[in-house]
Symmetry: C2
Subunit: 203 residues, 2 copies
């Protein structure tokens, strides 16, 4: 296996944290997003949608999309469980993973992509007013998550899951997106400090 | 069980098509998006993120997010299989589901939400220039899918899956999004005609 990775981008980081939680080590090859290496035609042979991460399997098949790659590793290495155990549990983990992705991760990522000067070549046309409209949505999602975390330790329930990874990586991107996490969100701060203290957070 | 549904919106339709493929009938309650019924405080008790679909389980728990709801029904009614069989297969179905969602469904949905006059109250602020930037992305995704469909009958491989549902519903929204599907994409046209001829397409 070979994982096309990028140290700076949030999506590959989701996969790295997931692998660290599993204790799994995979050979990686870095892709330089700043020089648009992933947009070059030779990378199109790896992923025609020209995005990282991408996982080349031993038979040459290429699996892309962070969550799909994580699900593949969940199958290969079921413990610790990060996608839920029975079907009902898995559905609720998926709900929280997607809520974090669509309500939190995407507004933060859009705010970043549409406002940061270093992403002007990547995101064309960059629309600062679109970025501005995303910031209050991200804050709303943080308030929602803060209320939810009043009653349980992790995003999807009693155990750490892929939903925590998506939410954590989204919050890590807030600085670059110029979004201030409201200081009064104590449950969110507690959860973020705990998640950041896990060894996987360094991945 | 009770499914909060909306006849006009694309995400509830994904769930309805999925249920029709499974041959499963679930009691539904319509939510009127045009009068912003889903944004009212009483609906917040069902889904704090104020979106449809939402599935109320018999024990009162509420499952939201179309794909999470579909995954729950896959667990309850495994046949016909729509999420893949073994772990590897499931990862590739997830990859295609997500590629269709992020590369095709989202640009089409954004073009619709940011340009259609009837959505001006729902999508604030509506940004027609953002809609305009999404249309060529949706066309790129159609060209990509057309090339892929040259070699296989369905989006994710040899069998119909949730990835077909996401892609089909996205194409159904192109008219409202004012996106013309390029007429020369013969594989896409073949696949769309076949998918549209399935009984589930009427759901």
């Amino acid at each position: 296996m070979l994982l096309y990775d990028s140290p700076l981008a949030p999506n590959p980081r989701r996969v790295r944290i997931f692998l660290a939680e599993k204790g799994v080590c995979v050979p990686t090859r870095p892709v330089d997003l700043m020089t648009l290496e992933h947009k070059r035609s030779d990378f199109e042979g790896v992923n025609p949608l020209r995005a990282v991460p991408a996982l080349v399997l031993d038979d040459g098949a290429v699996l892309t999309e962070s969550v799909a790659i994580c699900r593949y590793f969940e199958w290969l290495h079921p413990e610790p469980n990060l996608f839920g155990r029975d079907g009902r549990d898995q559905a609720f983990v998926e709900m929280w993973q997607r809520r974090m992705e669509f309500a939190l991760f995407m507004p933060v990522a859009f705010a970043f992509r549409h406002s940061h000067p270093r992403l002007a070549a990547l995101e064309q046309p960059q629309m600062p007013e679109f970025a501005a409209a995303q910031r209050p949505r991200a804050i709303d999602a943080m308030r929602f998550l803060d209320r939810e975390l009043a009653g349980r330790p992790f995003v999807a329930g009693e155990t750490f899951s892929i939903a925590d990874i998506t939410a954590f990586v989204a919050l890590e991107l807030t600085k670059l997106a110029r979004i201030d996490i409201p200081a009064e969100l104590a449950n969110l701060a507690r959860w973020r400090a705990e998640t950041g203290a896990r060894p996987s957070a360094a991945a």
